[in-house]
Symmetry: C2
Subunit: 260 residues, 2 copies
């Protein structure tokens, strides 16, 4: 994959934007604690049972999304960050649905660095431009089915795997076992596991037949501190030595108000 | 510095051990969330005003420390970790006072990896054997004076700087400004800042004249969540873009009981 050909493209492609906010700190994963502006794109190919950003996923929120070109997105980021070249975190929805090549190239010329978070279902050539990529395969409790080929294509699209990591959001024991099995197929990637912040979701997200999907399995406790203690112990019991167990800092610091 | 010559040394040097515990997760810094066993050595060349491990520092606790050779320390680690080759975190006190070459070499042959946390006042040739090193220069509120030459010598002793980072524990605004100034002299090193867990210390650690050293400056709030919010905002106000702001996870998860 040739990154040069990407950087010369100027397509004025429009990006579906749900929200741009920050600067704040990245609350999870490989860059936890890093100062960043978040760009949340609108639209997703998944419908996870406990999704905490329905407003960036579901079609009924489409009228709240704004179609913006790369220049306009960067202008907003520069305003928010007072032109300080921070990290920019691309999240969603699934940002891989968009064409973000121009945004990344433009931001990088201004000194910004780009991290992206995606479930790994859609691969794009411009992944090669990213400074960091978190692939977050969705476990059974989401109700989504995992396609290894999709994840492999995402990895193939990367310039190198040096700054790529896996992140698993775990709602129950079954999720954890599944995550370990997937992670073991990618021993070259650092692996982060975190509790699913299920507090609001267990009430909000029911499957069509009225059953609560996430609570069908043995759900982990709702309080994040208890979730962490459960997860640390569970990971140890499984001898999953490589997994790094992290909380969602933003949930702890700001509650559900700023879910990123 | 020649690592080979180190690995062939067998000195049966005794290590002053305050405690060995785990496995648990690393609660702070570059390896936050990583599963690890902690080896806390006894003895320190510093007397930080808000030190939270006086029992591993002060001479009056010496009779609680145990002189152990590398084999015995590894035996204890292997028992605790059920022979799972986790990370081993060397902490103190100041572990750089000890001769840890043999322990590191022995552990590495068994698949364990070694991380160390030290203030950067003492450099040893065996730093070159470490898999990760966190240098934690002590800010003004500790009452200790910073010697740049000591820190530089620690860096010189490392095989490479790839897995070396700085960590600043910040108790107040003055500490934060000082930390930024020091960090700017080492732009090649990742930099982590974290609030000082002052809850117990503000009462316990008074200077000789009865004044509380940490509270002389504008002390940051004691509650860790509030400390984090203060620190994130303060770091942003200083345009300290490179700093990663992290909490002490272990304090949040287990309280002061397991201070690591």
């Amino acid at each position: 994959m040739n990154a040069i050909s990407l950087t010369n493209e100027k397509t004025d492609a429009l990006i579906s934007i749900s929200e741009i906010f920050g600067p704040t700190i990245q609350g999870e994963g490989a860059l936890i604690g890093t100062q960043t502006v978040f760009v949340r794109t609108g639209g997703c190919d998944y419908r996870c049972s406990w999704c905490d950003t329905g407003y960036a996923v579901l079609p009924e929120f489409e009228d709240q999304w704004q179609a913006m070109n790369a220049e306009l997105v960067m202008l907003e980021i520069e305003t928010l960050s007072s032109n300080k070249p921070l990290w920019i975190t691309l999240s969603g929805g699934n940002p891989a649905q968009q064409d973000l090549a121009e945004l990344i190239t433009l931001g990088q010329t201004k000194g910004y660095k780009f991290s992206m978070e995606t479930q790994g279902s859609i691969a794009k050539p411009w992944f090669a431009l990213l400074d960091q990529l978190t692939l977050s395969p969705k476990p059974p409790s989401t109700g989504m089915s995992f396609k290894k080929r999709g994840l492999d294509r995402c990895l193939d699209a990367c310039e190198s795997l040096e700054n790529v990591s896996l992140k698993f959001v775990v709602a129950d024991e079954e999720d954890l076992l599944w995550s370990k099995t997937v992670a073991e197929q990618y021993p070259q990637l650092p692996c982060f596991v975190q509790p699913c912040n299920t507090s609001a979701k267990l009430e909000d997200h029911s499957s069509g037949d009225g059953k609560n999907i996430a609570s069908e399995a043995q759900a982990i406790p709702i309080d994040q501190q208890k979730q962490m203690l459960w997860l640390i112990e569970a990971v140890q019991k499984l001898d999953w030595n490589e997994a790094r167990v992290l909380p969602q800092l933003h949930t702890w610091l700001w509650g559900d108000k700023i879910g990123v």
